[in-house]
């Protein structure tokens, strides 16, 4: 696994030194976790969760939202109740 690729996906700017250092650390972590590849999982259904709990839902009921002032509190810039940011170019 290439550290600079992973860093790009996470939008992290790493120096060349950091890339070298983290590359060996990341490889170590992956190797450690990789031990699980050796387990025999024949006949075991894959699962996304450890506990056998299904169907945790909420009813379709409307609850109060935040006052708009609170919702915008962390916005560096705002206008007309919109959160303003540098122009998004597609």
């Amino acid at each position: 696994m290439d550290v600079s690729y992973v860093a790009h996906l996470a939008r992290l700017a790493l120096s060349q030194d950091e890339i070298t250092r983290f590359q060996s650390q990341l490889s170590g972590v992956l190797e450690h976790v990789g031990q699980m590849q050796k387990l025999d999982v024949e006949g075991i259904e894959p699962t996304a969760h450890a506990s056998p709990v299904y169907n945790v839902f909420r009813e379709d009921v409307e609850l109060p939202s935040l006052p708009v002032e609170d919702a915008l509190k962390n916005a560096p810039q705002q206008a007309n109740n919109l959160i303003i940011m540098p122009k998004i170019v597609e």
Partner: protein, 491 residues
């Protein structure tokens, strides 16, 4: 060389619920910006999303109506990417265990654009296969200004279904028919209002062309930004032509995303496909998996409403309506309810009365509504009154010509038919003595027709009948006056 187009669609549909997908904020279009948000849909750290059962039910219902297989075990996954309309930097979606798999949409003739209904392909009942339907959360809405963009999180976290088709669509008209069928099915089942102009149904089209008969696919382009079904038709038609022209001129199609500009009638390059996105899907640890076999599928099967195509078949079977009438009356749920309401209120032979009502609705009412810029909800004609009018005609109290006049008056005033009939002095003359006097006058005034009739020309009877009805100022019961004439002529 002859080319053929290969088209697949990705359709996003906003699910109609009271609250958002994973929090209790109101799911509403058009509220002031950022008034329907909370820590969950703003993506604050440490919050716990919980799925909205209604949205899951409606997705399962959609799957059942479109003949999908409902996955027994499903889960939600995180789709990671950075974009300002996604505050968590991941979207909760479904990756490898979506709610619905397979299924299809059958394209009925009248789902095609009017000018294409005569094409044999419109009668082929083509099945456009689906790959999957999954449930996810919608993203925020962005507005673009001169140097900045503004974000409104009201839409962020509202339930969104994604319906993906196989590349089974071969023309702009089939794309049109697919979307109009889907839209009808979803809106009639109250799953979504599915209005493209409001962004409740959004469609991306993947289009490629290849020499006819070639098995290998051409390079595809993705078209975005259509905001009506006819816009999709225009965009697909434009793009097919563009690709064929490019190839014919020795050029190459590159894999890219293009934006449709409806006013200009053209697609424009948005971006070329750089490296494939790496979304790093993984199961969302905040959300427990779902089992659909613990009652969900069973209860949705019981709630499954009649689809437009099922209703169309029923109208043809039970009321002997032709395919055109049945298709128009079943295309809109409100219109179907109205039709059935009128039918329930009308007396007389079911099939005869149903045909008369269908004629009134399709030939008169829809035109009147269109002319007055009204919808059925504005219509002043109560189903009971409508039914009463049809019964009057069926019982021979007024002629169908008179009934049309009454109908226009009912549309304008909302009055009962009996009131209008009285006001206009329209009562049909069925009294034998009165009819005889009109018949005698007609016979005296038209000796030639009388001779023709006696010489065996049956058409002459109709001419005399027409004269007699004219003499009665249109009030004579057409069937009875015919009988009286025959009696006198054969006497």
């Amino acid at each position: 060389m002859e080319y053929e187009a290969v088209i697949g669609l990705e359709v996003h549909v906003q699910v109609k619920t009271h609250s958002k997908m994973f929090c209790g904020c109101k799911n509403e279009f058009g509220a002031p910006p950022n008034t329907h948000t909370c820590p969950v849909c703003l993506g604050m750290p440490g919050v716990l999303p919980t799925p909205n059962l209604e949205a899951v039910k409606k997705t399962v219902l959609t799957g059942l109506m479109l003949g999908c297989e409902i996955n027994r075990i499903c889960k939600f996954d995180r789709k990671s990417y950075f974009y300002p309309d996604m505050p968590k930097n991941y979207q909760i979606s479904q990756y490898d265990q979506p709610l619905c798999l397979d299924g299809g949409v059958v394209l009925g003739k009248y789902a095609f654009p009017k000018d294409a209904q005569k094409d044999p392909i419109a009668s082929a009942k083509k099945n456009v296969r689906l790959i999957r339907i999954h449930l996810e959360e919608d993203v925020a809405k962005s507005f673009h200004f001169e140097t900045t963009s503004g974000i409104d999180f009201n839409r962020a976290g509202t339930p969104l279904m994604e319906i993906v088709t196989q590349a089974d669509i071969a023309s702009p008209e089939e794309a049109f028919a697919f979307l109009s069928t889907l839209q009808q099915t979803l809106s009639q089942a109250r799953i979504s209002d599915a209005d493209m102009e409001k962004g409740q149904l959004r469609c991306d089209c993947n289009i490629s062309v290849r020499p006819k008969g070639q098995l290998e696919f051409g390079t595809k382009c993705e078209i975005k930004n259509m905001n009506s079904i006819s816009g999709v038709r225009r965009a697909v038609a434009y793009e097919i032509t563009r690709q064929i022209q490019t190839i014919s001129n020795g050029g190459k199609i590159s894999q890219e995303t293009r934006r449709w500009d409806d006013a200009a009638g053209q697609t424009y390059l948005m971006r070329t496909k750089e490296q494939a996105h790496d979304y790093r899907y993984f199961p969302d640890p905040d959300l427990m998996p779902m089992r659909t076999d613990l009652g969900l599928v069973e209860s949705m099967k019981q709630q499954m409403p009649e689809t437009p195509s099922m209703r169309e078949e029923r109208y043809m079977r039970d009321y002997a309506l032709n395919d055109y009438d049945a298709s128009v009356l079943s295309s809109d749920i409100d219109l179907s309810h109205y039709f059935e309401g009128v039918l329930n209120a009308a007396q007389g032979d079911r099939q005869k009365v149903a045909k008369a009502i269908a004629n009134f609705i399709i030939n008169d009412l829809l035109g009147l509504l269109g002319g007055a810029d009204q919808t059925l909800a504005d219509c002043k004609i109560m189903p009971e009154h409508f039914g009463g009018l049809v019964s009057c005609v069926d019982a021979g109290k007024i002629s169908s010509k008179q009934a049309k006049e009454v109908f226009v008056e009912m549309f304008a005033t909302g009055k009962e038919p009996s009131t209008i009939i009285q006001e206009k002095g329209m009562v049909q003359i069925s009294d034998e003595g009165a009819l005889e006097s009109f018949a005698k006058q007609a016979i005296e005034a038209n000796p030639k027709s009388v001779d023709d009739y006696r010489a065996g020309k049956m058409a002459a009877l109709n001419a005399l009948k027409g004269q007699a009805i004219k003499l009665s100022k249109g009030k004579a019961n057409p069937q009875l006056i015919g009988e009286v004439l025959e009696k006198l002529l054969n006497a």
